[in-house]
Amino acid sequence: MKVLVPVKRVIDYNVKVRVKADGSGVDLANVKMSMNPFDEIAVEEAIRLKEKGVATEIVAVSIGVKQATETLRTALAMGADRAILVEASEDVHADIEPLAVAKILKAIVEEEEPGLVICGKQAIDNDMNATGQMLAALLGWSQATFASEVAVEGENAVVTREVDGGLQTIKVKLPAIVTADLRLNEPRYASLPNIMKAKKKPLDAKSPADYGVDVSPRLEVVKTSEPAERKAGVMVGSVDELVAKLKDEAGVL
């Protein structure tokens, strides 16, 4: 079974985000970029399925700017077999919306015919949490979102999901979309020999036009602003002082 894993190039998890003074967005020039952490988990899960003999080939896909090639090389160094870059913008500040991404992925799925697509549950830049669900809708496939455990059993995948009340286990018919949550696995680091090998793995470059998809945004970003800041508080010296402040000053006890 072939497994398709979409990966997104996003601002690195540890970088402090700065809103541009003119309100036009977040400053991404000369900022460290990495693979979306949830997508790393998705790549790792695909590799583990291959190590178990369930998956036969792993195809990583990224839709974005040309620099997403680096993100795909990371996926290849982790263990993906080949990669497809869909260059959808030349502007590093442009964010291709989940609906357009899902439409491109649908076309790729129809060409590649994977048995399973594993996505990250959300990207840590736009926090939209939508691409996997949208792809499932467009394909008419079942979806198992927020996965913390995935087992492929014959024609089905049994997936445990992290939900508000705890955990839910569902069984979905394959082919299906799974979206990875934090505790699905701990992604491996690529070793130096694998990083070297990844440079020789095939990487196809495509454009949205190759798939007949219009990526123009449906949402116009009117402005991007700083969140309301909290005022600095006070330090207290003891539990007694804390209790007194909470009772008398804050009135919350």
Binding site: Q133, D164, G166, R218, G233, V236, V239, L246, A250
Partner: protein, 308 residues
């Protein structure tokens, strides 16, 4: 303008707090029809009919809608979508599962985690773990939104909207429910509690998390946790507060042994009063705390539990 609101229904019962907060947001957009779906949803429909701001309730009962499986629930919503300008739900895990699927079936973008409504087409939402707020204007004919409930007050009750039943469309069963693992608890629900006591990596073990729970029980509070505490197995996943966990805004949030990574702050910085207890005086949590106490939590927390 007309709004179809997917009410949060768990095992046939209305999750009143989440639904009522979403009703407040939806009522700013137009006339609200609340949809209660499930294997059993009539009782939830009766409860939704009492919410102020709900002008009609639709009840859909069908075995295929049990456990809020995304495929059947999305198909139901799409079958009802004609005639509504907005389709809205509280941003629970169930709705986050269903609503993007609905949006894609309608060929529109979903707008997740809306924290403010500017006008019928324009919405505010946090991005980058709440480090920025984006205002977006939708060009789509229909708007599909999930509502960040922590930023809206709950609608009151006193209404008496008419209730109608609707049928679920037929469709192939793509998914089936296997089991739920839900811990029974007498504590208030994390996202609606007035007080939340959360523990982080500093708590050190599942056993010592009992200190956090004891303080919470003394205060009648819900228990939360940082990602680090959940990843380490000290606390279950449904206690996680943060960018990818739950977003809370209680009257009082007590963060214990939590350093304050931006991903955690994203889930709690709208709390009214924040208390931080940490032995590291440089922990970033102190930068958002109203009251900070540099102390060993193993001494301070039992003392606090005794004195509140």
């Amino acid at each position: 303008m007309t709004v179809l609101l997917l009410a949060e229904v768990n095992k046939g019962e209305l999750a009143v707090d989440a639904t009522a907060k979403a009703v407040t947001a939806a009522a700013q957009l137009g006339e609200v029809t609340a949809l209660c779906a499930g294997a059993h949803a009539a009782a939830a429909g009766e409860a939704a009919a009492k919410l102020d701001g709900v002008s009609k309730v639709l009840v859909a009962e069908d075995p295929s809608l049990d456990h809020r499986l995304a495929e059947a629930t999305a198909a139901l919503i799409v079958s009802l979508a004609d005639g509504y300008d907005h389709i809205v739900a509280p941003a629970t895990t169930d709705a986050k599962n269903v609503m993007p699927r609905v949006a894609a079936l309608l060929d529109v973008m979903v707008i997740s985690d809306v924290s403010g409504i500017v006008d019928a087409d324009t919405f505010e939402r946090p991005i980058y773990a709440g480090n920025a707020v984006q205002t977006v204007k939708s060009k789509d004919a229909k708007k599909v939104l999930t509502i960040r409930t922590s930023t809206f007050d709950a609608a009151g009750d006193g209404g008496s909207a008419p209730v109608e039943t609707v049928a679920a469309p037929d469709g192939p069963a793509l998914a089936e429910w296997v089991e739920d693992k839900v811990a029974a608890s007498d504590r208030p629900e994390l996202t609606s509690a007035g007080v939340v006591v959360s523990g982080g990596r500093g708590v050190g073990s599942e056993e010592d998390f009992k200190l956090i729970e004891a303080l919470a029980d003394k205060l009648g509070a819900a228990v939360g946790a940082s990602r680090a505490a959940v990843d380490s197995g000290y606390a279950p996943n449904d206690w996680q507060v943060g960018q990818t966990g739950k977003v809370v805004a209680p009257e009082l949030y007590i963060a214990i042994g939590i350093s304050g990574a931006i991903q955690h702050l994203a889930g709690m910085k709208d709390s009214k009063v924040i208390v931080a207890i940490n032995k590291d005086e440089d922990a970033p949590i102190f930068q958002v705390a109203d009251y900070g106490l540099v102390a060993d939590l193993f001494q301070a927390v039992p003392e606090l539990t005794e004195k509140v």
